[in-house]
Symmetry: C2
Subunit: 244 residues, 2 copies
């Protein structure tokens, strides 16, 4: 582990994910994004649309990670309570933000900006806005917390908008060694030895099932390119020795 | 909310999910399963393959929910540390379990049951086994915690095996009202009124993006069939009034 590790957590807010009705796609997208820019995603939580659960999770996760990214709950309906919960978590006020209101007016006529739509302009005091090129209602950024939409395309646009402003650490590099049909149990002992020899390299073994049976993949990960290459070589030699 | 609510949490254990390399599919499967049998999934956490994080999450989640389901980290390789962590969380010992060893012998010849494979027979003291019809290495059940494999097909088989033994509460019923292209901002005010009128019904509004623009869906959920039908009728009338 490099000492300049930048870490992150994701908080997914939504009854619809917990009920199974909607299958989350944002976690994987954010995980890929953060890994690519050198931020280590360390924890994910999914909580229901309930103030107490959201506030507790926001405060737990923002305290223990460099960044917290939330998705969901920033629309115009009564079940969208994320902004209020984040304000409560930070102990700041929340009101209609003139900048956010102006953004909504790019999409809605003034006479259509009813109370429900104005809810989307309610932003915690001291927050910066995250633009939403698709439907205009912004996300926001307060302290180390980034509040984004749940709709995947909008979340993605917001992530692209905030990405360049994030501090990043050493990029985690990874290499995959295909073990094919070689059973995990056949190489696990050797792999544990290699893992001990390379304390700065994280080594994982990931089975998946195919029509042809198990297919195993070994992934070596490190911020240190030289150590990574050495560990990769050792794993390749292990697999070749067992396959040959 | 019914008073006989049975709740659950999921703990997904795995660096490969947090790195984005593997996209989780178990959360959605378990969420669907629990909803269908009348167990309310209330929280999900994803943590890395690190003992401290796993033990803390197991203890937090088993204390606050009727059941905790974990996935991942029960294979033969050095990064599979879930069983040890669950034993530590419960403060019990862990050793090779003769029943689990017998299950492994259904798949492996005695001479192939090396130290790595025997890791899969290490089961916390006092746990019951969860059979694995696919690759034999069992999951286990201790207290209110169910420890399952990460490979989706095996997880599914284990869930099917434990399902009938679970206490279930009143089944959450749900109805979906298609709002089509009607904007959330147009019905949000009326929907909030309906939500207030039906405190026993949870009402959510879920936008999704399609080629044709936003498509919105309103979902009403309750364990009370009569209240659900009434709320559904009110939402249908609201949508029809705004569409017509």
């Amino acid at each position: 582990m490099s000492t300049d590790t930048v870490t992150a957590a994701i908080l997914v807010i939504g009854d619809e994910i917990l009920s199974g009705r909607t299958k989350d796609r944002n976690i994987g997208t954010i995980a890929d994004y953060l890994t690519a820019i050198g931020i280590a995603l360390r924890e994910v939580r999914i909580v229901p649309d309930e103030a107490e659960a959201i506030v507790a999770a926001v405060n737990a996760l923002r305290a223990s990670h460099t960044y917290l990214f939330t998705t969901g709950g920033i629309g115009p309906t009564h079940d969208d309570i994320t902004a209020d919960c984040v304000a409560a978590a930070f102990g700041v006020g929340i009101d209609v933000d003139p900048r956010a209101r102006a953004m909504l007016l790019e999409r809605h006529k003034p006479e259509d900006l009813n109370a429900a739509r104005l809810r989307m302009a309610r932003i915690p005091e001291g927050a910066d806005l995250i633009p939403n090129p698709i439907s205009k209602a912004p996300g926001f950024h307060i302290g180390n917390v980034f509040v984004m939409a749940g709709v995947p395309a909008i979340m993605q646009a917001m992530l692209d908008a905030v990405g360049p402003s994030l501090a990043t650490g050493a990029r985690m590099l990874s290499e995959t060694i295909e073990a094919g049909g070689l059973p995990e149990g056949a190489y696990a002992g050797g792999l544990a030895e290699i893992a001990k020899d390379f304390p700065g390299v994280s080594i994982g073994s990931y089975p998946s099932m195919t029509e042809a049976g198990f297919r195993n993949r070994i992934v070596v990960r490190s911020t240190d390119a030289a150590a990574l290459a050495e560990a990769q070589g050792a794993v390749q030699a292990l697999v070749a020795g067992l396959t040959g």
